[in-house]
């Protein structure tokens, strides 16, 4: 009963543990960061500085300024192909939506399987390209560590396993489905402990700079 057991584990204890670790880890890390001392900025803000303006950078930093595009836009686009494809596959696929509905109670219409497979394929190819870039670029080679490669693997695995399950490849469908769910659960459980935490931290990090710079009236 091997396949059944894996799928049952993935739908049951695996899912429960992954979600518990996800919540536990995110809270741990955020609380651990934000209970560190934070001196109040006493400098008089520039006239017209606003917190709303500060928060804008959380959104605006999503796309590079034109001054930098010539040097960074190509890989930024590849990165967005990965992120966008990933988002479509996670948020557009009906079984995923049902999972989200089961967990938090909200849902929306899904997209056809072919669209999802295409998006996931694009995402996977982009992710492979990004890994190649990381391995080939002297800058990225220098600054990369275990987290970068491990998080890459953890983020990548749900794509081929999901596609293989969708197309009934790799032998036993039930096992593949269970394995796919397990890779998703590993992603959730790992999220708080590695760089994938940027899915949450990006807002805090941008917001921190946004607040500091908006007090100065400096554009970001």
């Amino acid at each position: 009963m091997g396949g059944g057991t894996l799928l049952d584990f993935a739908r049951g204890p695996g899912m429960e543990w992954a979600l518990a670790i996800l919540v536990f880890g995110i809270v741990w890390r955020l609380v651990g960061i934000f209970t560190l001392k934070r001196p109040k900025d006493l400098a008089e803000p520039r006239a017209g500085a606003s917190a709303i303006g500060a928060m804008w950078v959380i959104i605006s930093r999503t796309w590079p300024h034109k001054e930098f595009r010539e040097r960074v836009l190509h890989w930024e686009v590849v990165s967005y192909l990965f992120h966008g494809g990933y988002a479509v596959a996670i948020l557009g696929y009906a079984p995923h939506i049902l999972l989200i509905r089961a967990l938090i109670g909200i849902s929306w219409p899904g997209l056809p399987g072919g669209v999802i497979a295409f998006a996931a394929g694009i995402s996977g190819v982009a992710l492979i390209a990004l890994l190649m870039h990381r391995l080939n670029s002297p800058v990225l080679r220098k600054i990369s560590n275990f987290d970068d490669y491990f998080s890459w693997l953890v983020a990548f695995m749900p794509l081929p396993t999901g596609l293989m399950a969708y197309y009934h490849l790799g032998g036993n469908y039930e096992w593949m489905l269970g394995f796919h769910m397990l890779t998703g659960e590993i992603l959730l459980a790992w999220l708080p402990f590695g760089k994938i935490m940027h899915t949450i931290l990006f807002a805090f990090s941008r917001g921190t700079t946004g607040l500091a710079y908006s007090r100065k009236g400096a554009p970001l």
Binding site: R11, G12, M15, L19, I26, R29, G32, D41, L103, Y173
Partner: protein
């Protein structure tokens, strides 16, 4: 014990070879045999001796036998009177009590070593087998004895194949599938709750013609259990297009869209429902508007609710409590780690005389 061949038994019953061929055609169709295999089956069945069959029941509900008696093609009449020699079945036979036990012993002894043992229901080895006994014998002892004289065992239904309902958590009787007890004889699992009638008869006919069929990893004949319901479902294109019924009475349900959202387990259920169908090829559950329960798979009742989609948690836990607890624990660990770290910051400050307390942090980014 019967010495006549199956084709002889047809003729003896006043039926021509045409009736036999027609019967073989029906069997081949159910088994999805190729024309060459169908021809081979016809040849072999014509010469095969009618096998003796002993049918035993343990922890079960008789649904499997109910299903079997509704076999259309090959019809149960053929099966019982022409194809096999059903020597013992306590539900179908007239005899009861000690007479029945005696009849069974006689039948088994007569065909010792040659009969096919068909079993429905799980057996219960727990606490010395006290939870399932007949005529003073535990189900386990009874099965072991009966199996020792069989040439092969066919486990009919999910209880016999995988433990079934009695096996469901918390499994009070310690129920186990037949294959847990019978280790030295081939065991063919014909799972389903119940199995499709034609699948039971088809599996028996295949065994009579060719011997033990190719089995999947759960011991089931690949002929019937090689595909999932989802693979052969007429609603599959809707799944691919992302068109789902959200409730049992919405527009999608009326238009015959996919039932995945309503908990259909078709994608992970191996059975012949979508092709052989039920009640003489009439329809199958999905065709009637209800998702597959996954009844031919192990543990199908323990996989969360029947109406819980396959991609969602089986739901044996209280999400709010567990996640709330995880959040509280995370906050506690976070505060503790930051607290320890801050204490180290302050401690180091104290024993460094060259950094006076007045020397504050100017850089707010610190």
């Amino acid at each position: 014990m019967s010495n006549e061949t199956i084709s002889e038994s047809f003729r003896k019953a006043g039926m021509s070879r045409r009736a036999f061929l027609k019967f073989c055609a029906a069997a081949a169709s159910v088994l999805a045999l190729s024309p060459a295999e169908a021809g081979e089956m016809t040849r072999r069945l014509a010469q095969a001796r009618r096998p003796d069959v002993i049918y035993l029941s343990y922890q079960e509900c008789t649904g499997c036998l109910e299903s079997l008696t509704r076999s259309f093609s090959p019809g149960i009449g053929h099966l019982l009177f022409n194809d096999i020699s059903l020597d013992f079945d306590d539900t179908l036979q007239a005899a009861a009590g000690e007479a029945a036990e005696a009849a069974r012993m006689t039948a088994m002894k007569k065909a010792w070593g040659k009969y096919i043992l068909v079993v429905d229901g799980s057996v219960s080895p727990k606490d010395g087998g006290v939870y399932c006994t007949a005529a003073g014998k535990s189900s386990v002892a009874d099965l072991q004895y009966a199996a020792s004289g069989a040439q092969a065992v066919v486990a009919v239904g999910t209880c016999a194949s995988f433990g079934g309902l009695p096996f469901a958590a918390p499994n009070p009787t310690g129920a186990v599938p037949i294959s847990e007890i019978v280790k030295d004889k081939p065991v063919i699992n014909v799972s389903g709750c119940p199995p499709i009638a034609e699948v039971i008869t088809g599996a028996l006919l295949y065994y009579v013609s060719f011997g033990v069929p190719a089995l999947d990893r759960h011991g089931r004949p690949v002929n019937f259990y090689g595909n999932t319901i989802h693979d052969r479902c007429y609603r599959r294109p809707f799944y691919d297009q992302g068109l789902f019924a959200h409730t049992f009475d919405d527009e999608g349900a009326r238009r015959g869209w996919c039932l995945f959202e309503l908990g259909c387990k078709g994608p992970v259920t191996h059975n012949a429902c979508a092709t052989t169908k039920w009640n003489g090829g009439t329809s199958y559950p999905i065709e009637s508007g209800h998702g597959c329960l996954g009844c031919s798979e192990p543990n199908f009742w323990d996989r969360g609710g029947f109406y819980r989609p396959l991609s969602t948690p089986t739901g044996h836990w209280s999400g709010a409590q567990v996640l709330g607890g995880a959040a509280v624990a995370g906050a506690a660990v976070g505060v503790a780690v930051a607290g320890v770290a801050r204490a180290r910051q302050n401690k180091k400050d104290d024993h460094k005389p060259d950094h006076k307390p007045a020397d504050k942090d100017h850089d707010r980014n610190g």
